[in-house]
């Protein structure tokens, strides 16, 4: 596909395969880290808030 005649050529990247795929792997990891940590921050905050609200309702 594109510049590469075969999947093998794509993986090999003319000898630079390790460098290119390692870099893109790190790129994916950085993006994933950002998404996961933002989501978990939101979840944690909402759970804390909801716990407080429930306690308020119980205490009346």
């Amino acid at each position: 596909m594109g510049q590469f005649e075969s999947i093998q050529a794509l993986i090999d990247m003319g000898g630079h395969g390790l460098y290119v795929w390692l870099s893109y792997g790190i790129g994916l990891a950085v993006i994933a880290f950002n998404v996961v940590s933002a989501n978990s921050a939101n979840k944690k905050a909402e759970e804390r808030a909801k716990k407080y609200i429930r306690r308020q309702e119980l205490e009346g």
Partner: protein, 259 residues
């Protein structure tokens, strides 16, 4: 209470009220819910299309071969890590001068996102350096200054968590960010001021790039995608911060229980 507020509400007082309401956490929380998909969907599309183009369709470099494809991650990450640092410092300054909570929150959450992009820029740069220069790392001006940028980011994060009082933490890290701001022009001009191994700029946002369209355009897509992605992540984290700070407020409790 300033002099302008003791008299009848003239335009100064009304402007101040508008300015401060615009910067209220409640306003931000309610509005940002609708903005998020406008950030996330274009971000994903731009990043994916840029990287797919760069990985599979862009021509290889006649000198560097396919290792050049690292360019499509390395340059956008470097741009973003520097831009985010500037935004963090500006938001910090706004907090220092006008005590706007939202700016304080924005500055706080710029740091981890910016640090992750700095790590990406440094890691992809080192990996790219090996086949290109034969070395994972050299202490040339640009690389060293970028490493210092990462240390500044980590310093901001560490300083914030070390201080118990939220307002003091915000102000201290704002000062650190502003002091560190001098590093940004150093990074930018390092390749002009010093004899560096790192090449001079071939891709800037202000001049025509020294490479064909099929090579630079995907990088532009990734840069734009990364900016949108950063904004998306920043707003998500800021929303979490608003909940952390304001969960006792009635308006927020209503929002949360309505979900």
């Amino acid at each position: 209470m300033s002099l302008s507020e003791t008299s009848a509400p003239g335009w100064k007082a009304r402007f101040k009220r508008w300015f401060h309401s615009w910067a209220s956490p409640k306003w931000f929380y309610e509005k940002s819910a609708r903005w998020l998909p406008w950030l996330s969907i274009p971000a994903v599309l731009l990043i994916l299309s840029g990287l797919v183009w760069g990985l599979f369709f862009a021509p290889q470099d006649y000198q560097q071969g396919n290792s050049f494809r690292i360019f499509y991650l390395h340059v956008p990450a470097a741009f973003l890590s520097q831009s985010i640092f500037m935004m963090m410092a500006i938001a910090g300054a706004i907090n220092l001068i006008w005590r706007i909570k939202l700016a304080d929150m924005a500055a706080k959450h710029c740091a981890p996102i910016g640090a992750s992009f700095a790590i990406l820029a440094l890691a992809t740069g080192a990996i790219w350096g090996k086949p290109t220069w034969g070395a994972w790392w050299v202490w040339d001006a640009r690389l060293t200054a970028m490493l210092i940028l990462l240390f500044l980011y980590l310093g901001v994060i560490a300083l914030y968590s070390a201080i118990d009082n939220r307002e003091t933490a915000g102000r201290s890290t704002a000062i650190l960010s502003l002091v560190g701001l001098v590093n940004i022009p150093i990074i930018k001009y390092s390749v002009d001021w010093w004899n560096t191994l790192h090449q001079p700029a071939t891709f800037t946002l202000t001049e025509k790039p020294a490479m064909p369209f099929e090579m630079w355009f995907p990088a532009l897509l990734v840069v734009l995608g990364f900016y949108l992605f950063f904004t998306w992540m920043l707003f998500k984290r800021m929303r979490a911060e608003v909940v952390e700070r304001e969960f006792k407020a009635k308006w927020l409790q209503k929002e949360l229980t309505q979900k």
